[in-house]
Symmetry: C2
Subunit: 224 residues, 2 copies
Amino acid sequence: MADDDGTSARGGSKRRSAAADRKYHHGALREALIAAAEHLLAEKGVDGFTLRECARRAGVSPAAPAHHFGDAAGLLTEVAIRGFVALRQALQEGNAHGGGDPLRRLHEQGLAYVGFATSRPGPFRLIFRKDRLDCDDPRLSEAGRAAFLELETAIRDVTGKAGTAPLDPPTFGAVLAAWSLVHGFAHLAIDGEFDRHAGPGGRQALVETMLPHVLRFMPGDGRD
Amino acid sequence: MADDDGTSARGGSKRRSAAADRKYHHGALREALIAAAEHLLAEKGVDGFTLRECARRAGVSPAAPAHHFGDAAGLLTEVAIRGFVALRQALQEGNAHGGGDPLRRLHEQGLAYVGFATSRPGPFRLIFRKDRLDCDDPRLSEAGRAAFLELETAIRDVTGKAGTAPLDPPTFGAVLAAWSLVHGFAHLAIDGEFDRHAGPGGRQALVETMLPHVLRFMPGDGRD
DNA sequence: GTCTCATCTTAACATTGTTCAGATGGGTGT
DNA sequence: ACACCCATCTGAACAATGTTAAGATGAGAC
């Protein structure tokens, strides 16, 4: 927003590279850094992420991010919050896609969870890398809680335990089991642990083929 | 082993710190570095691991490890191989503890998997961090395959599909589901994702309480 | 006893995150 | 219109890391 870049008072119209025409006061550096971080994350993953590279892409000095985010964890926390929001949205869309049947909704949420992880492994990995995040940020905790609640209410609907009352251990066990199942599958998939057994279609094909067979073991799907 | 440190030919008996009385030719540097790496991994985790700190603890220069392992990935790969061996051993012990009932054996393997992850998060995390390992090392692949086979045969026993013939998709799905369930639970546990819901007993207590409820959703446990 | 060569060190380089003193200029108050 | 303030950004510096190259060392073979 407020990107009045077209008619810069000074500097003329010589070069337009990101690092070339600095305006000293960037104007929207905070958003630019977040965008750069998201792209970098998508390209190189969490461990390939670098604060300096981020600053480079935004066309500012290595010290600039500190004024907006404190340190690298601060910037990554912002990206993680957006990751949680996107994950929650994906779960909600899966929910909506499930129609009126609670069991089908839970199933669709599982598909959405794994789909998010495989299509956006960068943010997915990031939100679980507490060592790179500022866990004291209440906005992060809240975003995570909100995403988790989608799954919990889905299980509540399946087991007929709606509301906000504390869940009994067996039902809470079902929540954790559902989460564990899709979380484990997602992680194993993006970590390449299935590549050993992949056929000609590669990892993606194997994941898509096997995921339905795996989701058969979701809580509520035949037992409770 | 073979630590003939007591009677050094030169240097007398002044200082005994690891870095103090170098002998230029360490004698067992390879093993010493692996040991240091394992300790460091247990203390700081994969991301806290540092090759230089390893060399420091072994009492050698930062460049010394390169002669034995090439680079950091080489050393970590050695540690990861031992991690796979230890994991497989844990699974086998769980298997043995399960007695003659295939279903109980699978259940015990699940307990062993999560137990390994929570009691030794360092190696557990490492073996899935392909970005830090030398994945071209055939010994690593083989060690991983061997560990995976423990789970596969456990499922084969449960479903009555013993042998080495390729598994049909539904049964292979059961293998992946079992793996995903314990893998996801283990990761969520050591990542602290359950801490939000932990009671006065802390994370460990919650894990121990909920794990049985989660393992109820293991393949074969009521459905197939 | 001499020589060879694996083993280890010293020194250096590029890269990273982070801090600090200062430069800059957009916006506010007058 | 003008001057000032302060959030914003730069430049330089520091400590730490992985890795490489050239040289020192000494254990074991001849």
